[in-house]
Symmetry: C3
Subunit: 335 residues, 3 copies
Amino acid sequence: MKAFNDIADFSQEQISALLELANRLNENPEPQALSGKVLALLFLSPSLRTLASFQAAMTRLGGGAFVISPDMSIHGLETRPGIVMDGVAAEHIREAVPVIASYGDAIGIRAFAERKDLQKDLDDVEYRSLIELIDTPYVNMESAAAHPCQNLADWKTLDDLGIPANGGKFVLSWAFHPKALPLAVPASTLQMAAQRGMDVTVLRPEGFGLPEQVMAKAKKAAAASGGSVRESEDRQEAMQGAHVIYAKSWSSIAHYGDKIADQKHREQYVDWCVDEPWFAPAETDCRFMHCLPVRRGVVVSEAVLDGPRSVVIHEARNRMLAQMAVLHQMLGGAS
Amino acid sequence: MKAFNDIADFSQEQISALLELANRLNENPEPQALSGKVLALLFLSPSLRTLASFQAAMTRLGGGAFVISPDMSIHGLETRPGIVMDGVAAEHIREAVPVIASYGDAIGIRAFAERKDLQKDLDDVEYRSLIELIDTPYVNMESAAAHPCQNLADWKTLDDLGIPANGGKFVLSWAFHPKALPLAVPASTLQMAAQRGMDVTVLRPEGFGLPEQVMAKAKKAAAASGGSVRESEDRQEAMQGAHVIYAKSWSSIAHYGDKIADQKHREQYVDWCVDEPWFAPAETDCRFMHCLPVRRGVVVSEAVLDGPRSVVIHEARNRMLAQMAVLHQMLGGAS
Amino acid sequence: MKAFNDIADFSQEQISALLELANRLNENPEPQALSGKVLALLFLSPSLRTLASFQAAMTRLGGGAFVISPDMSIHGLETRPGIVMDGVAAEHIREAVPVIASYGDAIGIRAFAERKDLQKDLDDVEYRSLIELIDTPYVNMESAAAHPCQNLADWKTLDDLGIPANGGKFVLSWAFHPKALPLAVPASTLQMAAQRGMDVTVLRPEGFGLPEQVMAKAKKAAAASGGSVRESEDRQEAMQGAHVIYAKSWSSIAHYGDKIADQKHREQYVDWCVDEPWFAPAETDCRFMHCLPVRRGVVVSEAVLDGPRSVVIHEARNRMLAQMAVLHQMLGGAS
């Protein structure tokens, strides 16, 4: 595997193989599989789970990782092309990225959306400009458009819990959040559930529909997998028979890049906080998923988050296991 | 071993076994003992020795560690229970701690005293609320009430130097410091020396007596070990025949949580800086101990700190060796 | 090897042996060579390549590293001797450095020039005061006067590219930069090229001559190696037949420690930005070298930096390989 870039790049068979490997590595550790192998981790955006789980994954396989993030004791990084660097930044990303990559057998890169130009973010222009600089195998640790490590971990979580693929009902619900958040997680989570063959409903208030490009991609995946993708503003209807609700806040594409307009628009929906009554029409053991970090009492009630429906810690631990499988395949651990 | 939480939880025999293991690992390294094993390190308070020595300890045993600290490129962490998270913090400790723990085979946690409510700190309420969130084996890397890694390292240092257990005279002396410091080190150092069977004198000026709860616990340990615990304000008398003076500043419990009153009270005792004349009544080769960091010319004179009495670097190196033994036992290194 | 301190401390034979080892470790990895071995990394100055490449080097050899830098969650470090520490800093370098070193089998230290007193910096007084505190083997990760890891990597790069030693023409050129930069890289790069037996021209504008002490040391090395060292202000003449131009900005020693005077002086030479026309008198395939970070459009044009002459990423990757050889020799990896 040369790149782990987008869950959409992988077939159901490839994903099954990765998840079998993840389970096998959990049950039968291979602490020498990647000995002497190095994973470079470049964080251009903040992280907790990704930072921790990738380092832990490499250690469990006998290799190691190093972390570069812009808040560390490094020279500032310039990203603008064609600039005369007579200001604060002492180094350009055009040197920094290939250099960092050259020390690793693979590189993980995190670069969140700029959230100025929707099309640019949907096309992952900034992230793609970074990976064009390198020959090293790479892992997308969350870009503007995708978060495949989260998707693979969530797929594993759904499998672990015995939630059906075909016939499984997956509700991706917008939730309130004080800030306008990126589209990477909702877009790629929708894609993941559609690829898995689930019946997916995107539940969101007026003005928070996901971009056409995202919906079309997911619908295509659903058509191939025997799943379906639809949208709803009606909570009661959307939650009918649901096996899982995956909560996530995201920006309004109607106001993309305009924080004030987005803020004004979203404040109408401060009551979109997932709470126990939401589950009334759902399956009895309907689960609550979230990629974390999550704001308690804002995105989800304490009762739900601390209750038996919540599988958020399970999801987070699966990040490590899913990434171990990806790294094992990418870095050629003996299987 | 499921937890390394408080030196008081361990018998003399258990401590001897740990220190024998520490010596053995120093002389006969086991660079594969913990291969593939991960230690999660969560620092909610600053660190140098602990940060470095735990990472080094894991590497020496063939495993690895990752570090999460609040100054890193992570989302802010909320600690208040039951809060609606509509402010700055994007993640609650109730998710962050279990997630971080889930990536490790063990977790080390550092969380200093809040120093608002004495009883709460003595009962280690905040630290206990964190470890209640996890099932993973854990190590106390300094809480409000205890610093067992320092205690084990200091016990080893006393052994290394041939300072007698029963019959050894240990002076724990308050020293001046511009800030009101936590009780964890003095309280648990007193406990350690008492458990080791030493004759311990707590030397401190008026108003700096250690809490009743701390003194009572140490006296109980001394009664069982054949040691003794007493207090004194008289330097000459306290230092009579001493084998070691362990200097440390701490808050006045009379003014706990009141920085200004504490400051005013402590400023009378700016001359409590350990200096060569202090040692006149002591054993000729009486040693100077301190957990570091130490303020030169404030807590101790340069002459003493740079002279032959000082064993502070020896103590600090023993942190790594003591922790290697703890981790080896906790994470099941073959012995 | 007890210290890797200055490229001048090593003979051509010793350097050849190190570079052969670097090549061997690149082709035939030894992922167990340093298992259980620890490298302590102390950064008193910022870093990207050094930070990443040393951690990667240790992982590739089966050991590990830990990083301490002043921007981390540690107590502030005091460096002044004989001070009463009643201010902000809670720890003195006299404890911190020996403690950090005590956790490693070797320690790397980075401490840039203070750039107040030229002679002090040329004599590496601050760095030498740090290494006097330790017994552990150590690596200079860039001091006021030297950057031997960069020098060894650059020597390897010249070898890799087949650039002749005796008879090879090496131009070390001053370049414009908005800030007054240290002398460590230009001084030790000059030394490296002279030791390698090359014909070295230091090309710089009026007022930017390197210190007498630096020139004399390099001339002595050239005399022994069959190389030569000269200076020039004439770009055309200096570049005649050049095999490589190594660009670097540095402070004017005429204004050392006086930022404003240096600024005023250097601003005359804002056109000293290496660009394609510079190469007209040189060998056709004359290479462009730089230690990075480099300011695009200021030190070097984008055309040169992104073009086929530039070997800056190759140099940077060689940092890791060169350091692997040093660490392998220093930490006793079986050879």
